[in-house]
Symmetry: C2
Subunit: 201 residues, 2 copies
């Protein structure tokens, strides 16, 4: 885990609080943390949910695994250390977006339970909603939308989650989706219903 390296730094308190921003935007700033295997449908569901937010006038944003790896985290690979640092940075960025009052959707495999726990600990109570996008490995492999499982099986991609690297299932996610049983629209509705019930939107 990253240790605090910089010293001689002080916290600069702004004038506007998270509550102020939430009032302005008419919503609660939360993180919807989608986790699951490659091919499980994390990004597809997250972007569907984002579309519904937009139609309802909510400010939201998807932090997407692949997209972030082209920018902020382009210096990181897929070793255990790099995966940990990848998720650490995403947790911090999601926290900033959440503090800004946005409904923040993160779509990352995020295979390690401890890394997801650290991301959760950055958030205020109730502001971190873990969404386990469950889909059996065989079905993810059958879908293989990016041809990655095929490459992993052929040994071209090392350290591939589910094949040659571990995925630690969430023990108590706030929401569990099953994309082999429910359509994208049905999964999105489950998320929206949860947020409505909790008074977040």
């Amino acid at each position: 885990m990253a240790i605090q390296k910089a010293t001689n730094i002080t916290w600069h308190q702004g004038h506007i609080s998270k509550e102020d921003r939430e009032k302005l935007l008419g919503q609660k700033g939360v993180t919807l943390w989608f986790t699951g295997l490659s091919g499980s449908g994390k990004s597809t569901v997250a972007h569907e949910v984002e579309k519904i937010f937009y139609e309802r006038g909510h400010a939201s944003f998807v932090l997407d695994g692949d997209n972030i790896r082209h920018g902020l985290n382009k210096d990181l690979g897929f070793s255990p250390e790099d995966r940990e640092e990848n998720i650490r940075r995403i947790g911090e960025v999601a926290h900033l977006f959440t503090e800004a009052g946005l409904i923040t959707l993160t779509s990352f495999i995020s295979p390690y339970r401890s890394d997801r726990q650290k991301a959760r600990e950055l958030a205020n109570e109730g502001d971190f909603i873990e969404i386990y996008v469950y889909c059996p490995l065989e079905e993810c492999e059958r879908r293989d939308p990016k041809g990655l499982f095929k490459k992993a099986r052929a040994g071209i991609i090392p350290e591939f989650t589910g094949i040659s690297a571990p995925y630690e299932e969430p023990e108590n996610p706030e929401i569990r989706l099953e994309t082999h049983k429910n359509s994208v629209e049905e999964c999105a509705k489950i998320v929206i219903d949860y947020l409505e019930k909790k008074g977040i939107i």
Copy 2:
């Protein structure tokens, strides 16, 4: 500079564009990049501008040097390499916030011209507004709000910008503020006037 390490990643295109978000929020997503010496007043002016945004109903957020160093960039120190990586990450995060449609204020010394240029290159034309918060070194040192200049002169803090590390002045900033001549409120007004003239708010 960080090189692209991760391979086998693809760009996931969402349904909602930056323009959609700007329409929803009634503003343009831009980055206001405050740069200047420690003690020049970057954060003070940025937070004052943020307050005005809030009062006018605009969604904005300050990414503050010290605050970010407690979280996302807590693994970085003040060596030239770490400073470069610090600003690289901030540039990427500011870009994400800007894509989300927010008016994003960054308050970092960001002493190297090339690093600021890289942050600018991430943005669409017109979305990156460099604000040089000018204040003579002697005046920054006289203010010394955090006692850092004193420590730097005593050699307790090495690599301190303006004393033992370089600051490369912006050559063509969109806005130049002079905090030794103008009050915080006057400086904030200069920024707001610029944004209004450009149709950003």
